[in-house]
C-alpha cells in the first residue's frame, strides 16, 4: 500500500513503476544475450567461450570452428530468437484480442493454415510471383486468411464468444491438417520430406538464408505490436470500454490480425509449425509481471527468444538422437495447456 498525497507523489510512483519496468526488460535482454553466448558453445564440435569470442571478433585461425559458429550456430540461434519472439508476442496479442487464455497461433489453427500455405508453395510452386519470398509469402497469406476466417466464425452480435472461438479454431485447424495430409499423399517423395519437415517444426535447415527470409515479416509484425501497446491494454480491459475511451476497435483488430499474420507467417516459413510457444511464454510472463503490454511485449520478445533457444538446444542435444523442436514443445505444451485450463481460468479470465 502506498500513500499518495500530491501530484508529485503520483509522479514519483509512476517513475518508480517505469524504472522497475525498464530494469525488468533490460534483465530479460541481458538474459537473452547470455543464453545466446552460452548455447553457441553447445554442439557436437566443442568450443570454449574464449574460442567463440575470438571467432566472433575475427581473430581465430580455426577455420572449422569459424564455419560452425558463423555459418551454422549463429544463424540457427538467430532464427530461434526471431521465431520464439514472433510466436510468443503473437500468442500474447491473440489472448488480449480475443480475451481468451487459450488463444495462440497453434491452438486456433492458424499455424496449420500457414503450414498448408507453405506446403502449397513447396509442392506446386503456387505463389511463384513472390520470387524468393514464395514460401513465407504463402505462409503469411494463409495465416491472414485463417485468422480472419476463425475470427469471423467466432464473432456474434455480442462479441467474440470464447467457446465458439476455440471450436472455430479447432475446426479450421483440422480442415487444414486434412488438406495438408491430402497434399502429402499426392506429392512425390522429395517434396514429401520437405513438407513433413514443415509439419514437425524444426530449425535443422535454418541458415542465414532462412534468417533473411523471416526477419522482415517478423520485424514488421513485432513493430506494429510495439506501436499498439496502449490500444492493446485498452482492448484487454474490454472491447466496449475501449471503444468508449476512444479506440477504433475495427481498425485495431485488422491491424493486429495483420501483425500476427506477418509474425506467424514469417516463423512458419522457416521453422514449420512449432506449437504451444505462443501459449506458454505469455502466460508465464503475465503471471510474473501483470497484464501491462508495455512490459509484456518486450518480455515476450526477449523471453520467447530465450525459451526457443533453450527448447532447440535441449531437442538437439539432450537425447540420443536430435528431435524436431516442435515435438518437444508439444510434449511440454500440452500439459501446460491443461494446467492453464484447470487453474487460471477462474482467476483472471471471466
Amino acid at each position: 500500500m502506498i500513500e499518495l498525497k500530491t501530484v508529485e507523489d503520483l509522479e514519483n510512483y509512476q517513475r518508480a513503476v517505469s524504472r522497475r519496468s525498464k530494469s525488468i526488460v533490460a534483465a530479460a535482454g541481458l538474459g537473452l544475450i547470455l543464453t545466446f553466448l552460452v548455447t553457441l558453445m553447445i554442439g557436437n564440435y566443442s568450443l570454449s567461450i574464449t574460442d567463440i569470442l575470438s571467432i566472433l571478433s575475427g581473430m581465430s585461425g580455426d577455420s572449422v570452428g569459424s564455419y560452425i559458429i558463423i555459418d551454422v550456430r549463429v544463424p540457427r540461434l538467430l532464427c530461434c530468437i526471431a521465431v520464439g519472439a514472433a510466436l510468443s508476442a503473437s500468442g500474447l496479442v491473440m489472448q488480449s484480442l480475443f480475451k481468451n487464455p487459450m488463444a495462440s497461433p497453434s491452438v486456433l489453427g492458424i499455424s496449420s493454415g500457414a503450414a498448408f500455405g507453405a506446403a502449397l508453395a513447396l509442392a506446386f510452386g503456387i505463389g511463384g510471383f513472390m520470387g524468393r519470398y514464395m514460401v513465407p509469402g504463402m505462409a503469411f497469406i494463409f495465416c491472414f486468411l485463417t485468422m480472419g476466417a476463425v475470427y469471423m466464425l467466432a464473432r456474434t452480435k455480442y462479441g467474440v464468444v470464447s467457446t465458439t472461438l476455440l471450436l472455430a479454431g479447432v475446426a479450421i485447424g483440422a480442415f487444414f491438417s486434412g488438406m495438408l495430409s491430402l497434399l502429402q499423399y499426392v506429392v512425390n517423395e522429395n517434396v514429401l520430406s520437405g513438407i513433413v519437415y514443415w509439419t514437425m517444426g524444426s530449425f535443422n535447415n535454418c541458415g542465414w538464408q532462412s534468417f533473411q527470409l523471416a526477419i522482415i515479416p517478423i520485424s514488421a509484425g513485432l513493430l506494429i505490436m510495439l506501436f499498439s501497446i496502449k490500444e492493446l491494454n485498452l482492448i484487454a480491459a474490454g472491447e466496449e470500454q475501449a471503444a468508449n475511451i476512444g479506440v477504433n476497435i475495427k481498425k485495431l483488430r485488422i491491424l493486429m490480425i495483420l501483425a500476427t499474420s506477418l509474425a506467424v507467417g514469417g516463423s512458419v516459413a522457416i521453422s514449420g509449425v512449432i506449437g504451444f510457444v505462443g501459449l506458454i511464454v505469455p502466460h508465464i510472463f503475465r503471471m510474473l509481471v501483470g497484464p501491462n503490454h508495455a512490459l509484456l511485449i518486450p518480455l515476450c520478445v526477449f523471453g520467447g527468444g530465450i525459451f526457443m533457444i533453450a527448447m532447440d538446444t535441449i531437442a538437439k542435444s539432450a537425447f540420443a538422437m536430435a528431435l524436431p523442436v516442435g515435438v518437444l514443445t508439444s510434449l511440454i505444451g500440452a500439459p501446460f495447456f491443461i494446467y492453464v485450463m484447470r487453474t487460471r481460468k477462474n482467476e483472471i479470465w471471466d
Binding site: L4, L10, Q14, S96, A237, N244, I245, G246, W349
Partner: protein, 264 residues
C-alpha cells in the same frame, strides 16, 4: 445546447426500441432516466456516444453531430461508465485510470505532466488515491465502480453517461456515490445522464427526470414536477408518497404495487 437529441429512433433488427426521442440538456445538470426494464434506457445512452447508430434522428454535442466524429473525438467530449465492472486482466488502479487519457494523447498544446495531473485529480475526486498500486480485481464492487468513474473523469469530458451506477452497491455506498457524482457535476460543470432503477436516489440527486415508457419519453421535467404519485402509478403501478425533507430534499416513499395493475 450542450447535448441535443432530435427525433431519435433506433431498432434492433426490426424491433423498434426507441421512437422519436427529443431531449436537450446543459452542462452542470444531472438528468435521471428511469423506466421499466426494456424501455430503451441503456440503448439511449449508447446512441448518445455513438456506440449504437440510430436509424433516424440525430445527436449533437456543442453543435457537432456525434455520428460524424471519430471515436477519439467522441471520447474527448463524452465518457461512458457501463454497467459491467468485470475486468479480464488485473491491471493496477493507476494503469486503469491512466487509460482514460488515451483520447488526449496527441492534443494540441499538450504539456508534460498534463496526464499525471489529470489522473491525480480524477483519483483524488473519487477518493481512490490509496488504491493506486492495487490490482483492480482485488477491489470491492463499490471501489471498482469509483475506479471506472475516475477513468471517465480522466477523459475530462463535458458529458458523463452512467448506466446503473449504484447496481450491486449496498445502501450507504449508493448514497456516497451519488453524493460524489452530484458534487463533481456542479464543481466541474459536467452534464451527467444517469440511467437508474432507483427512484429514491434519482429523485434526491437529479435536477431533471426523464421517464421512459413504450420506446418514448413519457414525461420530462424538473424532478419535483415529474416525481409525483400519478406518474409513478402510470408507469410503474406503484403507490407512492412524496414529501420534502428539510435536511435531505425530495423524498419519495415507495409503498406497494397496485393490485389491479395489468400483468406484464
Amino acid at each position: 445546447m450542450s447535448l441535443e437529441i432530435k427525433e431519435l429512433c433506433f431498432s434492433y433488427d426490426r424491433r423498434d426500441v426507441l421512437c422519436k426521442i427529443d431531449l436537450t440538456a446543459e452542462r452542470g445538470e444531472i438528468v435521471g432516466i428511469i423506466g421499466q426494464n426494456g424501455c430503451g434506457k441503456t440503448t439511449l445512452l449508447k446512441c448518445v456516444n455513438s456506440s449504437l447508430v440510430p436509424g433516424m434522428g440525430s445527436v449533437t454535442v456543442d453543435g457537432c453531430q456525434v455520428s460524424e466524429m471519430s471515436r477519439r473525438e467522441i471520447a474527448k467530449k463524452i465518457a461512458f461508465v457501463t454497467q459491467t465492472t468485470n475486468v479480464t486482466f488485473p491491471f493496477s488502479v493507476y494503469d486503469t485510470v491512466t487509460m482514460g487519457r488515451y483520447s488526449r494523447m496527441d492534443d494540441e498544446g499538450r504539456k508534460e505532466g498534463d496526464d499525471v495531473r489529470a489522473v491525480f485529480q480524477a483519483m483524488k475526486d473519487t477518493g481512490i488515491l490509496k488504491f493506486a498500486d492495487r490490482p483492480i480485481n482485488e477491489l470491492s464492487g463499490g471501489e471498482r465502480r469509483r475506479v471506472m468513474i475516475a477513468r471517465a473523469l480522466a477523459q475530462e469530458p463535458e458529458i458523463l453517461l452512467l448506466d446503473e451506477p449504484t447496481l450491486h452497491l449496498d445502501i450507504n455506498h449508493q448514497f456516497d456515490l451519488l453524493e460524489m457524482i452530484h458534487r463533481l457535476s456542479k464543481e466541474k460543470n459536467i452534464l451527467v445522464l444517469i440511467v437508474t432503477h432507483d427512484i429514491v436516489l434519482a429523485s434526491r440527486y437529479c435536477d431533471r427526470i426523464v421517464i421512459m415508457q413504450n420506446k418514448k419519453i413519457h414525461k420530462i421535467g424538473d424532478t419535483i414536477k415529474v416525481m409525483i404519485p400519478e406518474n409513478m402509478k402510470d408507469v410503474f403501478y406503484i403507490e407512492t408518497e412524496v414529501s420534502e425533507d428539510s435536511r435531505f430534499g425530495l423524498n419519495v416513499l415507495l409503498i406497494g404495487k397496485d393490485k389491479d395493475s395489468p400483468e406484464d
